[in-house]
Amino acid sequence: MKRMTIVQAINNALDIMMAEDERVFLLGEDIGHMGGDFGVTRGLWEKYGDERVRDTPLSEAAIIGTAVGAAMVGMRPVPEIMFSDFLGTCYDQIVNNAAKMHYMFDGQFKSPIVIRTATGGGFGGGPHHSQSVEGWFMNVPGLVIVAPATPADAKGLMISSIENDNPILFLEHKALYRVRGDVDESKYSTPLRKAAISREGTDVTVVASMKMVHESLAAAAELAEEGISVEVIDLRTLRPWDEETVFASVRKTGRAVVANEAPKMGGLGADVSAAISEECFSALKAPVRRVCGLDAPIPFSVSLEKLILPGKDDVKQAIKAALA
């Protein structure tokens, strides 16, 4: 066990997989010598060289297309899109190419790529560097969305993702990059499609993802002092998400809050909330509440940004409303 940040944990996972499997290679902007905008690939270029840690021009569509093509013939590419906001420039490649190929050619090709990208707000990045984009991709069959909240999960999920045969969008929340935790230095994997129960509780279930897992845990800790027992679920895989774990928890607690950073309308939380209400109808003692960003772009000014993004207090308030 070693204390690591999420940056280091992902770096460690990439290192392990590259050492073990020649087919794994990285491509993206400034991931080589520079080690990526956030340092996630630091040291890998020195170790694995230009061919396997490949700097690209600002050609996001070609980055994804290249990854897909290489994956079709047996490679295991891990492309990086520097900020998730830029995924709009390669949306077609992800949605119409990577995610549909296996189906439309009836299984003759696979597209095992892991698209790493830095996502989320909270650092004054402004409207084009702060978005949470999972909602853009939630309605895309064939695509997997993975989003860790802890260093240990970041490593294990990255390893699982590289070993998985599906195209995966791997979301790395910028505000969590420096979060530290204990990480096993050997190779291990964390299952996809399996949520984690980050905190057990009996009064209400909070279903969260990424940074909102931490906000929810903080809310739960404070509410525990008021005698409220909150169960916090970290979805980890956002598409397809783990209905079994979520429904079991809600059936136990009878109350649910869904927390994610992106705007409420049409976001991840809509799907989770709708599914809970449909499937746990008779168990529900209160309406499912969504804690999300406001329906606006992310402004540059930090004080305004705070008003748009949801936080611990919003989770607390929703939990209290659910219990009222």
């Binding site: 297309g65 013939v73 190929m101």
Partner: protein, 320 residues
Amino acid sequence: MDVLLDLYRDMWVVRAFELGLEREFKKGNVPGMLHTGLGQEAVQAAIAQSLRHTDAFFPDHRCHGLLVLAGTPGEKIMAELFGKATGVCSGKGGSLHSADPSVGNFGDNAVEGSMMATALGVALAYKMQKRDDLAAVIVGDGTSGRGEWHESLNLAATWKLPVLYCCVNNGYAISTAVGKAHATENLYEFACAYKMPSIQVDGNDIVAAHKATEEAVDHIRKGNGPFFIEYKTWRWQGIFSGEFRPDDEVHYWREEHEPIKLAQQHLISSGIADAAQLEQIKAEVEAQVEDWITFAKDSPAPDPAKATSNVYVGWEIAAR
């Protein structure tokens, strides 16, 4: 046997396949949309001739004949276009997505131009895997409008990837003339920006098209990086079979400069074959195509279970 005679037969495969398909489409037996390769037989024959099974190629929406020339049994391509269980993709892909990796057919991407990026990846992987195979991508003139065009040419040139760009310039994107939509009518000029070797060739002259393709492939296999060929040609199909192009243009391409006629003249005048031999080739191919059509017609619809299979690798999706 002379390769030109092979190529002549190949051109007839494209012609007969498309004529048969068009007939069935008009009868309502072929679902969806249909773009035919009629008029572009020489281009397709030339490309197919120069590739080998270990190469990868990305066909465009008019390449049905080429898919057969690449080595997939004709009936399996035909059945795919009919949406049948016996098709190469079990009827899930159709005209626009009939892949067959066993012969290097990587399938069309109906978002025109997007596969120019995919081809980069295949070429890069082949290079990393130390294979001397290449990735060919077949795209129309209209597709040169797409941003992926630039991203692809730039990276292929910068990374010296084994990509063969086959640009089929038939003068129009649906109804829009090349010159109306692009800064040049000679698309091989675009390649110059990337310092990529490029050539423009008469795509209706099988001899010229074949020679250019062979040279390009040879250049690439020697490790020199990408090559760009612009085939000047013309498609019979206008706007959804309607005609909108000037009469003299139609006359030139369909009569004077029609690829199969040109090939016949060449074969006969150079003494490679006589008219009777050529007639026989045509008849044989036509009969074959009718068999494929019959096979496709008689094939069953896909198994309903196919509707939900292979969405994810290894995972099932929820039923209704």
